[in-house]
Amino acid sequence: MRKIALAITIILFFIISATILGLFLYSPLPVLAQSLTNPEIQFAIGLSLVTSVISTIICIAVAIPVAYALARYQFPGKWIATLVLTVPLTLPPLVAGIALLLFFGTTPWGRALDQAGFVVIFTPLGIIVAEVFVNIPYMIRILRSAFSTINPRYEHVAKTLGCTETGAFFQVTLPMARHGLLAGTVITWSKAIGEFGAVPMLAGATTMRTETLPIALYLNISGGNLDLAVAAATILILISLAALCAVEYFDKGVHVF
């Protein structure tokens, strides 16, 4: 068993390494540097960074109270709430995208939002909405796991030492959950940067308008511009590797799944 297991592990390691390495070899450093000066790639990097950072901040702000409620409180219908909040996790991103498109395009609430100026269909705002919708369950799950490993008695003690309920959370529980929060942030952000599914469905794939890095990759490969496509892919891979290292570094006892 030992030999078979190790052999399969080594083979898989080589297949993955070779695939990634192939990408770097195709696009040597000077070519990559050249691609980075391309306005389209620069736009894609900028848009990806802005939308992913904003969507990650929204995910953090919303997921903290939701994860805390799920970890600490009992309330009627908790199981169904948990289930619904987890649905986007299992939904194929394309399906999530079409659902969002229908919600904002065809329902009275969606149209009301549109008329109120919250225009998401085929706009950069749509990128943020799609990223939040798809990624927030990850953040909730990671934070819920982090909060539920923290004994509520820490907060009890903090309250006897002069904290309000909110104060005890921010002074004690949140700092204690910082590894989970950091791991969640890195995962959410790297998933947001790479999101391709829900985003083009809702925000469209328009060059120099809603063109994030994965969309730039898709548009350029469709248009036969392999150099730019590979440049976008290489940047995405570098981001993934950095995120993986960060998660490995921060992930201390936090269960992602």
């Binding site: 004994n151 008695r153 820490y154 009890h156 003690v157 903090a158 309250k159 006897t160 030492l161 002069g162 904290c163 309000t164 104060g167 002074q171 004690v172 700092p175 204690m176 910082r178």
Partner: protein, 370 residues
Amino acid sequence: MLRIESLSITLDEFPVRDVSLEIRPGEYFIILGPTGAGKTVLLETIAGIHAPDSGRIFLGDREITSTEPRSRNIGMVYQDYMLFPHLTVGDNIAFGLHRKKISSDKQHALVEEMSSLLEISHLTKRYPGTLSGGEQQRVALARALVLKPEILLLDEPMSALDGRTRERMRMELSHIRKHTGTTIVQITHHLDDVFALADRIAIMREGRIVQIGETSDVFMHPADIFIAEFLGISNIIRGNSSRHGNITRVTPVAGPEFFAASDVLGDIVATLHAEDVILSGEPFVSSARNCLPGTASEIIPFGNTVRVILDVGFPLTALLTRESCHDLRLEPGSKIYSTFKASAVHLIQVPPSAQRDEIEPLIPGNIPTI
């Protein structure tokens, strides 16, 4: 003074039912009870962590039933200390002072004062994860005491410590109490804590206080069989008692009669502490009214003492020092006489239903005297 009136709260599977208590200023009060008796919930409700379903809590003349925990001036130390792992020892101790917006110079002085009282000055730069159990315990105490609480609540504070550290911590707590004059309410499983520290104790079972009183009184006069067993009283003998002249005679279910200085008559259980039984090779004349011949059936060494189980017609346990056991040349099968005073025998009425669980709780003053 802490006064609790008819406090009830239901929290998961640990309810507290109709608890009334008065804890005197400067007192060391211990609440004893089996797991699941509701002791921690009671303590947390006193601290203000949970709102009671009914009842009231007073600290001095001030009603604090719905006061926030931070405004109660009650400190709390849990069994596993709950030191904030992301803060140094010094910051842990200063945590409450910081919330009170005390100037940093004053904070520093107060932390220093409390650290030196608890001999942890050398640890203030370290993080809790690097400390031993005993050190963490001291830090948790310092963190609570630095705020000079009127009441300090200790939830099984010594359960996680090894025997020797526990012994030292008991001395420490006694010293702290003398030095600061803080009223302490502790919950524990350990009878040693009770003997070493408590002025008064309360026994809790299934959310209720079933007996409360001076430590020695409760040990001498347990209110029911559950309490007698819980307090580790070795001899619990079922039988019947009747009055003969000015003395009460106990007829056990099996075995010889003996005398008790009690006016509890009828179906009873008699309790007798093992340390109140004297063993001798020959009967001797004394003021003790009971002298029963028997045979040693088991001899169990227990630390510096020896527990001897005799068969006198019913099993009777005596506690001797190792030396006494050696001098009496005791071994299983030895013929031996056991002598005990009638006043050492405490009788508990068994209610007609004979349901142990339905024995009514006693309140102070109702404890039968012998």
